[in-house]
Amino acid sequence: MTSEEQTYFDILGLARRYALDPRELEERYRALSRQWHPDVHGRASPAERVRILQRATDLNQAYRVLRNDDERAAYLLRLEGVDIGAEEPGAQAQVDPTFLAEMLELREALAEAQAARDEQAVRAIEAMVRRRCEEARAQVAAGFVRLEAGDRSALADIARRLIELRYLRRFHDELDRYEEARLLDAQG
């Protein structure tokens, strides 16, 4: 049993499905950390420590991916042979053109609001982006319900929503950077 053969769900002893109880994830993580964290093996031999480090990094990696809804979804897709992780030029083709148009509009609106220092408008855009994220995540969850009931046509739907979420997250990051820059300005 090497790390490559195990899924992140195996590592944490969780069922391989999208729905997840964050408390259960946390408790499993904590129990396994008590076993594999390098500090618990402070006096192990160097060779043992390399192996323990491997276990501990597997555990942290698994935890990081599974804890995050979007990453967990993308990982499950990858286990099903659908890789949306790679940012190939072709990836955009899967995105609904109306969605792209909407993003362009939002982006223009944001640029205008920022140029005009219209904070109210910026906040409205932020609320809109947050709502769109929530909608997309609800659709991802619904897609997994279908997939886990055996409907493989859900794969493409989930992939599309996840790619949309990537755009939305990036947009959100930009809003955040703007907010930080504004705070810095305020400091003089």
């Binding site: 195996d10 904590r30 402070g42 160097p46 930080e180």
Partner: protein
């Protein structure tokens, strides 16, 4: 920065010999401390002068060993270039980082490492200067504990990058310390607080030291201390308040511009005035108005607390953004916290306490001595690591995102900031030209989108890829951040399975050869019987390994085939024979040989213990897991 070589030969050799004499060290910008656990309670160890705080100042003389601490600090205004203070600000930094900001004589040809010209025509690096401080603390601890130390936990600002951490670890090695762990300062403080007050919940640790600012958000529950997020500024601290005060004093001085010019022209005077400013700062924490007669001029200057607060307001403001970022990364708001802990001498400033209270909407906790709390936590952690307890555990994060420079100078993040450590990322690269046998990789740390705006860690050259058509060779590179926050890199060619050779050119810091040369020098000067010591250490290590193997074979010998068992026995007998001889190199070789021979056995034992651990799951879960078991998968996304 290193290649994956966590198994440093003989690294753990000294640990057994010293009967648990482990310490925690706070290597601070202005002061350093050493602490140990006595009767279950961490305590700071005082020096011969009765003080636990050792000023982090080193004075070099034209001959003889350097002075460290208060004696050195007393020389600052007489020999400002030979008296190095706040060296922590120079750790892991390059020449262009410190040019114009550093009051010492620099070797201007040394780009990647700062080299300071000091008395006696010598040049010293910040690593060596820090090692002098650590050496004094080591001696202090060895005297107090009655013998050689088995290891030390050294604290670093949570926001330190890889180069700064590596430099700290190098300084520890140079001082003859076995560095058990680099521990983040706010995490150490939280540990001390949590243990002392048996508090549980979510806490922010606001740590403003002499030269660095850290903010960490932690969750303390059931003996596990989890860092949820950390942020900070490695160039912000109490020192900056002192400088702001110097400016204020110069501006107010009756001598006018002439006084300011005379301070500028005389580094000894500038250092003296800085010390005076620090005293003013301390007094203003309890007094409303301070009158002083600045050195180097006629006349008096008055400074009120309000003047001071106005002067440092921009510095306080600089803590706001990191606090916001840390809370956001932790997914919390200030209202979710159960408390805010203050650490670092600079948090004694009343204006700062008000600022923190305002930021977090509650008065901060400051019932432990902010100067000592980090060292106390480090001592507790040293004890935890050394005793291999698992009822108490610290889970920390990496403060900065790790990225690779792509074409056009754009950074691709491969490990996001605030990932729990140890962690790793794997990237697969492919060749873009026929017959290509190498790659260059540039690894950076930071949050900005272009490599030029991030901190350069190292350039890697990967060589030895078998020549093939473009896109055939697939090179898998693993970036691992260990529990100390240090980066290790390995590369493997996937189609041939060969380890590719990597050459590392660290952007900042010393090479392994330089460290070894310094170590050799220090041995010569220390007049220690190196060979005898090495032999002793290797014998101890041999005994430890042989005992461990005997115990493992007794417990789990059934996991081995007879032929495998015979090979292990043979390697063990060879080591036992070498142990009786005088050749420490032979012992080391046979330790490694036995280690290699037992790897498979160790792996099987671990798998066995894991399956026992998993056996606690419900039957339903196991069935599902078996049912859904898919073919092997690769963990990370693979560009290229």
């Amino acid at each position: 920065m290193s290649l994956l070589q966590i198994a440093e030969p003989g690294e753990s050799r000294a640990r057994q010999a010293c009967h648990g004499r482990v310490v925690g060290i706070d290597l601070g910008t202005t002061h350093s401390l050493v602490a140990c656990v006595r009767d279950g309670q961490p305590v700071c160890l005082p020096g011969p002068d009765g003080e636990v705080l050792l000023p982090s100042v080193v004075h070099y003389r034209s001959s003889g060993p350097p002075l460290v601490g208060a004696e050195a600090a007393a020389m600052a205004h007489l020999a400002p270039y030979d008296t190095i203070a706040s060296v922590k600000r120079l750790m892991g930094r390059g020449l262009h980082d410190v040019m114009g900001k550093c009051p010492y004589r620099l070797n201007e040809r040394s780009e990647s490492v700062v080299r300071l010209r000091v008395a006696g025509g010598r040049e010293v690096t910040p690593v060596e200067v820090s090692a002098e401080i650590l050496r004094v603390l080591r001696q202090r601890a060895e005297q107090a504990l009655g013998g050689e130390l088995a290891g030390a936990v050294i604290t670093v600002p949570a926001y330190f990058d890889d180069a700064q951490r590596q430099a700290t670890k190098d300084a520890g090695r140079l001082a003859g310390l076995e560095v058990l762990r680099l521990l983040n300062e706010p995490t150490a403080a939280a540990l001390a607080y949590g243990l002392d007050r048996r508090r549980e919940g979510r806490f922010a640790v606001f740590d403003l030291g002499g030269g660095t600012f850290d903010i960490s958000i932690l969750d303390l529950r059931d003996g596990i201390f989890t860092v949820l997020a950390t942020a900070g500024d490695t160039a912000l601290g109490g020192d900056d308040m002192d400088r702001a005060l110097v400016e204020l004093i110069c501006a107010r001085h009756p001598g006018g511009a002439a006084f300011a010019a005379s301070v500028e022209a005389d580094p000894g005077l500038a250092r003296h005035l800085l010390l005076q400013a620090r005293q003013v700062k301390h007094r203003l924490s309890s007094e409303e108005l301070v009158r002083i007669t600045p050195v180097g001029g006629e006349g008096e200057v008055q400074i009120s607390r309000a003047d001071f607060e106005q002067a440092i307001a921009p510095l306080l403001q600089r803590t706001t953004l990191p606090c916001r970022r840390a809370l956001k990364d932790a997914g919390l708001t200030a209202a979710d916290l159960d408390g805010v802990v203050l650490v670092g001498g600079a948090t004694r400033v009343p204006a700062l306490r008000r600022h923190v209270a305002e930021l977090f909407g509650r008065p901060p906790l400051c019932d432990l001595d902010p100067d000592q709390v980090v060292a106390l936590g480090a001592a507790a952690q040293a004890e935890i690591i050394y005793s291999e307890r698992n009822d108490m555990l610290l889970v920390d994060v990496t403060p900065l995102s790790l990225g690779l420079e792509l074409m056009g100078g754009i950074v691709e993040k491969i490990i996001p900031r605030n990932s729990r450590v140890p962690t790793r990322a794997r990237q697969v690269f492919t060749t873009y030209a026929d017959g290509q046998t190498g790659f260059d990789l540039h690894v950076v740390q930071g949050e900005r989108e272009t490599a030029a705006d991030c901190r350069s860690l190292a350039r890697f050259q990967l060589r030895g890829i078998p020549p093939a058509a473009a896109g055939v060779a697939r090179l898998e590179v693993t970036f691992l951040i260990d529990e100390n926050g240090l980066l290790h890199v390995t590369a493997r060619e996937q189609t041939s399975g060969k380890e590719a050779s990597i050459q590392v050119k660290p952007s900042y810091g010393l090479t392994e050869e330089e460290i070894e040369r310094m170590l050799l020098d220090s041995y010569e000067h220390g007049a220690e019987d190196v060979a005898r010591r090495q032999l002793l250490e290797q014998r101890v290590e041999a005994d430890r390994i042989l005992n461990a193997l005997r115990a493992a074979l007794a417990a789990d010998g059934h996991l081995l085939e007879p032929a495998e068992r015979a090979r292990l026995d043979e390697a063990a007998a060879a080591l036992a024979a070498a142990r009786e001889g005088q050749d420490h190199r032979l012992i080391a070789e046979r330790i490694q040989a036995l280690d290699r021979a037992s790897q498979e056995f160790a792996q099987r034992r671990m798998d066995q213990s894991l399956s026992r651990a998993v056996a606690g799951r419900s039957l339903h879960d196991v069935e599902r897991a078996v049912h859904l078991q898919e073919p092997a998968t690769e963990g990370e996304p693979c560009p290229g």
